[in-house]
């Protein structure tokens, strides 16, 4: 109806553009507001909370595995590292990071040193003087260290990018096809539990129960389609300059969710 340019069409387009622009303006106003209200001094309060985070009585349910999904064009390694350290300090044992283009994978070393820095700063003022070692794994190769499990003095992080999404299912399909063709596995044997175990070997972690998505855009950007089946997707506008209060409120949101598993 609007393919020909009629006066009515122009007016409608104008209204549409107006609504659209309004949303954008509101969004930016929100950003400015957020920027102005971000506390300048974050570190001291973080230590307080990080130490007590685990025993916080209002948090009854912590995620076992948190996936940090960066759906923004620009990735700030320092901010990502800080989020990871907060997760670690609050007692979350499995942490992985996904960014579509693999920026974190590419800057693995820098990310690692950022994490060490944040850890040092955090534990400086605390009574716990234990040295925390940081381990990073790419391409989902199983670790011989702690099987991807962070313990009190080792922090383990897995990095994923778009290749690990549908791509890993294609890889699994190839290896399964070879096995079936060589009669090592029968085709009837290929059921979801079997495929899951093959993919599990690669990722080596339980499926993430919480996906923290950072970025305005409401999209998973190719993030691990097999693994995120039951993940709670909790979004925040950006990871840049995320303060502890916002992080804490995301964890609290997760705390308030209920899973029914189809029942």
């Amino acid at each position: 109806m609007l393919s020909t340019v009629s006066p009515a069409g122009v007016i409608l387009r104008f209204i549409h553009a107006f609504i659209y622009a309004n949303q954008l303006i509101l969004n930016y106003a929100y950003y400015v507001f957020k920027f102005l209200t971000v506390p300048l001094d974050k570190t001291p309060r973080l230590c307080q909370d990080a130490k007590t985070g685990r025993s916080d009585p209002s948090i009854r349910k912590l995620p076992l595995h948190v996936g940090i999904l960066i759906a923004e064009d620009e990735v700030s390694l320092s901010d990502v590292a800080r989020i990871v350290v907060w997760c670690f300090a609050s007692g979350i044992s499995h942490i992985s990071i996904y960014d579509r283009k693999g920026f974190c994978k590419l800057h693995e070393e820098a990310l690692k040193s950022h994490m060490s820095n944040h850890l040092r700063k955090m534990y400086q003022s605390s009574s716990n003087k234990a040295v925390v070692e940081v381990h990073i794994q790419k391409n989902g190769l199983s670790s011989n260290l702690n099987n991807g499990h962070s313990s009190q003095n080792s922090l383990e992080v897995r990095l994923f990018s778009a290749d690990d999404g549908r791509g890993s299912i294609v890889q699994a399909a190839k290896s399964i096809a070879t096995a079936v063709a060589q009669h090592r596995v029968s085709a009837e044997h290929v059921i979801p539990q079997y495929l899951d175990s093959i993919l599990q070997e690669k990722v080596g972690l339980p499926d993430p129960d919480l996906l923290l998505k950072f970025g305005e855009v409401q999209c998973l950007m190719g993030c691990l389609p097999w693994q995120i089946r039951l993940s709670e997707i909790i979004s925040h506008a950006t990871h840049h300059n995320l303060d502890y209060k916002s992080f804490y409120s995301l964890i609290q949101q997760f705390n308030n969710t209920k899973q029914r598993f189809g029942r």
Binding site: V180, P225, T257, G262
Partner: protein
């Protein structure tokens, strides 16, 4: 619930005239990009029933009516394909009463579909049931087969109903399909790619949905179209499905319009990357082929590559035809069973 409100197709008489402000809203929305394919997780029927102190079955029935209403709203907006999550394989875990009730609802609604044949033909609606349908009671399988067969040529509006479906089961079926293809020698292991797997999914006839709407405020995908919505706009709405209104749909479309550009950019990039990978894999396959012969042939690499890609495409197409025909055969088997089983009930 009176009978007239429970039909699949809403005619002018049963749904009343569209109000002018809806028309204006539609016009405005249609001047921006509108998704062609929207997926819905219709969550909240049971909570709605509990809130309004009615029994669960009643909640599901109201949920069904909301679906038919929503379909009409979608069509008015220019959304020509809708995929809904009606019943998950996990839902078989629910109480026997509830599962039986849902199956009875399906039985009634699909039978009803056959009665509305003329109207469906007139509107050109195509019904597809996606999922592991052999888990369903046989009589429902037969009705489903009949409904799919009857409407398979329609293209104006497409409704995919995911029934006895989970995305993991679907992906696994695709993997098994390609594994069998390799075993039978139809394709090579190196032919397996994202696009081949994708075309073995139950959704092989549909483009990926551009927008996914989940009602009831839950913020997870619950094993629904995980592969297909990797690059879709997600919209989680805090409304229970029976309370879903046309304004929620409008809000969903506005939400889509806000995000679609950046999502499309990511999707396009992903597709380009997939093309590059395909080229790489063709090249690797060509190299290993040449390695076996211990010599490179004389013709330039580019033309060899083109030739190889052509061969691969032929293999893949033959394989995909095999997959489709296998599924069609299952449907045909059900149809002939039904014809044999009972003297055709008079449907008029």
């Amino acid at each position: 619930m009176d009978g007239s409100s429970s039909t699949w197709i809403k005619t002018e008489e049963t749904r009343g005239k569209k109000s002018w402000y809806h028309s204006v809203c539609e016009w405005i929305l249609r001047s921006g990009p509108v998704p062609h394919h929207v997926a819905f997780i219709m969550d909240g029927n049971r909570r709605f029933a509990q809130k309004n102190s009615m029994d669960r079955a009643q909640g599901h029935l109201i949920g069904f009516d909301k679906l038919t209403e929503t379909l009409q709203w979608c069509l008015d907006l220019g959304i020509t394909e809708v995929t809904v999550y009606a019943f998950s394989i996990e839902n078989f875990k629910r109480s026997k009463d509830e599962v039986d009730g849902l199956m009875e609802l399906a039985r009634q609604k699909f039978s009803r579909l056959m009665q509305e044949k003329d109207l469906i033909e007139k509107h050109g609606v195509c019904f597809r049931v996606l999922g592991k349908i052999d888990l369903l009671p046989l009589d429902i399988q037969e009705i489903v087969a009949e409904a799919m067969d009857m409407t398979k040529h329609n293209t104006k509006a497409i409704l995919n109903i995911c029934f006895a479906y989970t995305s993991r089961e679907e992906m696994c079926t695709a993997v098994r399909e390609v594994a069998e293809g390799v075993e039978m020698g139809l394709i090579k292991e190196s032919d397996i790619s994202e696009s081949v797997l994708e075309q073995c999914l139950y959704t092989n006839r549909s483009p990926h949905p551009e927008l996914l709407v989940r009602t009831s405020g839950e913020v997870r995908l619950s094993d629904f179209l995980l592969w297909q919505t990797s690059y879709s706009v997600l919209s989680f709405m805090p409304v229970l499905w029976p309370d879903f209104s046309i304004w929620h749909l409008y809000a969903g479309v506005v939400h889509y319009q806000r995000h679609h550009q950046s999502v499309k950019a990511a999707r396009d990039e992903h597709e380009k990357e997939a093309e590059r990978k395909q080229l790489e894999s063709d090249f690797a396959a060509l190299k290993s082929k040449a390695g076996e012969k211990q010599e490179f042939s004389e013709s330039p690499v580019a033309s060899q590559l083109k030739e190889y890609a052509e061969e691969r495409r032929t293999r893949v197409n033959r394989f995909l035809e095999h997959v489709v025909s296998k599924r069609d055969q299952y449907i045909q088997k059900l149809l002939s069973q039904k014809r044999k089983g009972l003297p055709s009930t008079n449907v008029s």
